[in-house]
């Protein structure tokens, strides 16, 4: 049994991942304490989504060590899967099924009671449109359903790739109790917009061409670092 208070929720040591010859992540080292938020910043193609996919067990690391909730990846991926929730670029919902059908399908895969689906649908304000096919919904509505899917099994670690994309301020308020920093999740958050991400974070990882340009508390990330990261 792993005592999570004694070690970080996420630990990367020299993490490397290649696609062919190109290293999408190169020797990245960072520790994320339990219950805190890591914001991952960087330009397009810096390796942010690759990092999230490795933590979600969808990609294997090619070098270094990765632990999530004390479990080594990829060896213990089957254990980690039930404890991480991924909200990525794609909603992972079938367009020809309704939101409710999609969520019930995911609930079955994750052994989650159907009542939880109904509670989440109400929580994100989708009660009236939950039976419409996903293809008939706006992007914001689809994103709200994707949030429901990501938190359906009450994961301890949330991996959030641009979680507020396509959402209006009212919808952001609705999803905040589910994926916000106030609910005790350990979160890894990526964003193209550094301002809000830094505000939301306890630690900031700047990625440049797959390498860790800096790992700092948000108060120590200034305009100079951001210029170098995005310049």
């Amino acid at each position: 049994m792993v005592d999570q208070d004694q070690q970080p929720a996420i630990e990367l040591r020299g993490l490397t991942r290649r696609f062919g010859e190109r290293a999408a992540l190169n020797n990245v080292t960072v520790q994320v304490p339990t219950g805190t938020t890591l914001a991952v910043l960087g330009r397009n193609g810096a390796g942010k989504s690759t990092l999230l996919r490795i933590l979600a067990t969808l990609l294997r690391p090619h070098g270094g060590e990765v632990s999530v909730l004390g479990e080594r990846l990829p060896q213990r991926a089957h254990v980690v899967r039930s404890r991480v929730g991924l909200l990525g670029h794609e909603p992972l919902l079938y367009r020809d099924l309704s939101g409710r059908e999609n969520l019930h399908y995911h609930a079955q895969l994750h052994c989650v009671a159907p009542e939880r689906v109904e509670r989440l649908i109400e929580a994100v304000g989708m009660g009236k449109r939950a039976d419409d096919p996903v293809r008939a919904l706006s992007r914001g509505m689809v994103q709200r359903l994707a949030v429901c899917r990501a938190v359906l099994h009450e994961p301890a670690v949330l991996l959030l790739d641009e979680p507020r994309a396509n959402l209006d301020p009212a919808a952001v308020e609705l999803i905040e109790p589910l994926i916000g920093s106030g609910n005790g999740h350990t979160r890894v958050l990526t964003s193209h917009d550094p301002g809000p991400a830094i505000e939301d974070a306890d630690l900031v990882l700047g990625l440049r061409d797959g390498k860790a340009a800096f790992v700092r508390p948000p108060g120590e990330v200034g305009a100079q670092q951001l210029r170098e990261l995005y310049g």
């Binding site: 919902l93 099924l97 994750h110």
Partner: protein, 223 residues
């Protein structure tokens, strides 16, 4: 089993919504029978020729269906969603093969009577029990190998070409055994019972490829 039933139910629901797979398989089969009807210039066939036409038509219809098996998973993130769940990955194989088996059975409910009307010389009725036994075993082979090949092909850019290129050689023994088993059943002077030897070969083939598919499917889902 829970995950298998969840994926299977989802696939059947998707097919009921979109009608993307089964109607195409049925139309293909009916068109092929019509083509054979005119191309052979004969109003009725029996025996080995009838068995060959039926088997080849069902084989190509199966490849058509297999090509669609994983499209929604690939295009709508179904693979990632499934891989994120704490379930045995081979439950995806079992669910897809079961869906494919059901599609083939439903196809045959339409295609076999149509074959009987358009091409078959001997009356179909007395031959149905024997034919169902042969087709059930053939469908199992088509479902398992179709699923396996489709899972390989879906990750390639030329997936429409890869499926038949890999699938046809793998299915050749099943094709031969099905045609040989069905020939006496569809013969004018036949007993109506399929030969046990070819049924056994088909069953053995089903078991061997089900085990191979079970062993390798996990690796097909790796990044």
């Amino acid at each position: 089993m829970r995950a298998t039933f969840a994926v299977l139910a989802k696939d059947l629901r998707l097919e009921l919504r979109t009608f993307e797979t089964l109607p195409a398989m049925v139309l293909f089969s009916l068109s092929t029978f019509v083509i054979f009807h005119f191309a052979l210039g004969r109003s009725a066939v029996g025996g080995q020729l009838a068995a060959g036409i039926l088997t080849v038509t069902l084989l190509f219809a199966a490849l058509l269906g297999a090509g669609r098996l994983f499209v929604a998973e690939r295009e709508q993130g179904g693979f990632d969603a499934f891989l994120l769940a704490p379930v045995d990955r081979t439950s995806l194989l079992a669910a897809k093969a079961a869906a494919m088996f059901l599609f083939l059975a439903l196809l045959e409910v339409v295609a076999v009577p149509a074959f009987g009307v358009l091409l078959l010389g001997p009356a179909l009725g007395p031959r149905l029990p024997g034919l169902i036994a042969v087709l059930a075993l053939a469908d199992l082979a088509l479902a398992v190998i179709g699923t396996l090949v489709s899972a390989i092909a879906i990750h390639t850019r030329a997936r429409d070409m890869i499926s038949p290129i890999i699938g046809l050689p793998l299915l050749l023994p099943a094709l031969i055994a099905t045609a040989r088993a069905a020939a006496p059943v569809l013969s004018v002077h036949g007993s109506g019972a399929p030969p046990g030897k070819w049924l056994l070969i088909l069953a053995l083939y089903d078991v061997v490829f089900a085990l191979i598919a079970y062993a390798v499917f996990d690796f097909l889902l790796e990044d």
